[in-house]
């Protein structure tokens, strides 16, 4: 049995999260002692936690790791904080997944520093909560209502376009045995929205932002890596949800105005996050906050921007910069 050197960094992810691979490659390069636990591979491991001593034993094949909470300095957390719509599982497998989820939450006793702590991720993912924090951090928001009261449409309809944007309060995602369902942000005529049903679930309805440029600002600590997302052919912004047009967009590094940077960092501090992916929309000189994702992807930015995001994360996990 090979007893591995005591890790100082714990990584909680899943094996197909390649963003985590980028960070682990940096950790290895920097000779950091780390252990990556993938939520989709727990059943391949032999795991035992001793709450009296606080020690976690993880064994796979000929390898044995002991995690002592006093030695785990930092945790890189890339797992879900709660399960969403996994209806494809039979009840017993669903129970298995639920109990491993509980185990992951139990790992909160490890690590002095987290990217990001699960309780902060849980709160920050909530769009109502993050919108309020964004407003309090100084960000401009589109006129927004959350709920199921159709009377708000009158306050929202753009004077110029008569259109509004609608999106789920939570991720609009479900899975059955046969298919996956996903909902993007939709920009449509207010009359279409008015004729639909409202009562059954709360959602977000906002003034439509016309002629916008989408911006993704990836925050790591106090460093901000921002790109504009524009039509490759024309250099103009994308109407509606740019994720539906990925084949025709390009990502151009950009600098944010000083006040917007201040708002970004204030929001991160307010939500207790070290890492976050913030979506903004710029119209002329105005920048609007749309949403923040505390577990957002960044690997897609690396090839076109050379942003050292993975290295910056690894440096913080190592303890080079707090």
């Amino acid at each position: 049995m090979n007893v591995a050197a005591q890790p100082n960094v714990l990584v909680i992810s899943n094996r197909f999260d390649f963003s985590t691979d980028y960070v682990c490659a940096q950790l290895k390069l920097k000779s950091v002692r780390y252990l990556r636990l993938n939520t989709d591979q727990f059943t391949e491991l032999a795991i035992s936690y001793d709450p009296n001593r606080g020690v976690l034993s993880v064994r796979k094949d000929a390898f044995q790791f002991y995690l002592n909470p006093n030695d785990i300095d930092a945790v890189f957390f890339r797992a879900a904080t709660y399960l969403r719509g996994d209806k494809g599982l039979d009840p017993h497998n669903a129970l298995s997944k639920q109990h491993w989820q509980s185990f992951v939450i139990g790992l909160m006793s490890f690590g002095r520093r987290w990217i990001n702590h699960p309780t902060n991720v849980y709160m920050a993912e909530n769009k109502m909560n993050q919108l309020r924090h964004a407003a309090q951090s100084g960000f401009k928001l589109p006129e927004t209502f959350v709920g199921n009261d159709p009377r708000v449409l009158g306050d929202l309809t753009s004077a110029t376009s008569g259109r509004v944007a609608t999106k789920g309060l939570d991720t609009l995602f479900y899975r059955t045995k046969e298919e996956i369902g996903f909902g993007y942000t939709e920009v449509q005529d207010a009359s279409e929205v008015a004729s639909s049903s409202w009562a059954e679930l709360p959602f977000i309805v906002q003034e439509a932002l016309e002629d916008k440029i989408d911006i993704r600002a990836t925050i790591v600590g106090d460093q901000i890596f921002a790109v504009k997302i524009v039509d490759k052919a024309t250099g103009t912004g994308i109407d509606g949800d740019w994720r539906r047009e990925k084949e025709r967009v390009s990502y151009q590094p950009t600098q944010l105005p000083a006040n917007v940077k201040t708002h970004c960092l204030a929001l991160m501090k307010s939500l207790g996050l070290f890492y976050g992916a913030i979506d903004l929309a710029s119209i002329g000189e105005d920048y609007y906050f749309l949403e923040i994702n505390p577990t957002g992807e960044w690997g897609w930015l690396m090839n076109c921007t050379e942003f050292p995001i993975s290295e910056t994360i690894a440096n913080w996990l190592k303890g080079d910069k707090d």
Binding site: F16, K28, F63, A80, T81, S197
Partner: protein, 70 residues
């Protein structure tokens, strides 16, 4: 009207269940290194030309830009 007529439910798009992410031949997941590596050289997949341009979605599943840790 039913829940299916709801504003945001109506805008849901369905996709077939995707296959698991394709890993190039010759690469395996290393528990010790905590990443996918070349089976022969141990070089990280993400540092090779075999690594496709990372998508904005986790596990290449189309759920928008981020799959919120699923």
């Amino acid at each position: 009207m039913s829940v299916s007529d709801h504003v945001v439910i109506k805008q849901i798009i369905t996709f077939p269940i995707p296959a698991s992410p394709m890993i190039p031949g010759g690469f395996t997941y290393s528990f010790v290194d905590g990443m996918w590596v070349d089976s022969e050289t141990n070089q990280p997949l993400v540092q090779t030309a075999h690594m496709r341009d990372p998508e904005s979605k986790k596990n290449d599943v189309e759920t928008g830009e981020d799959q919120k840790g699923e």
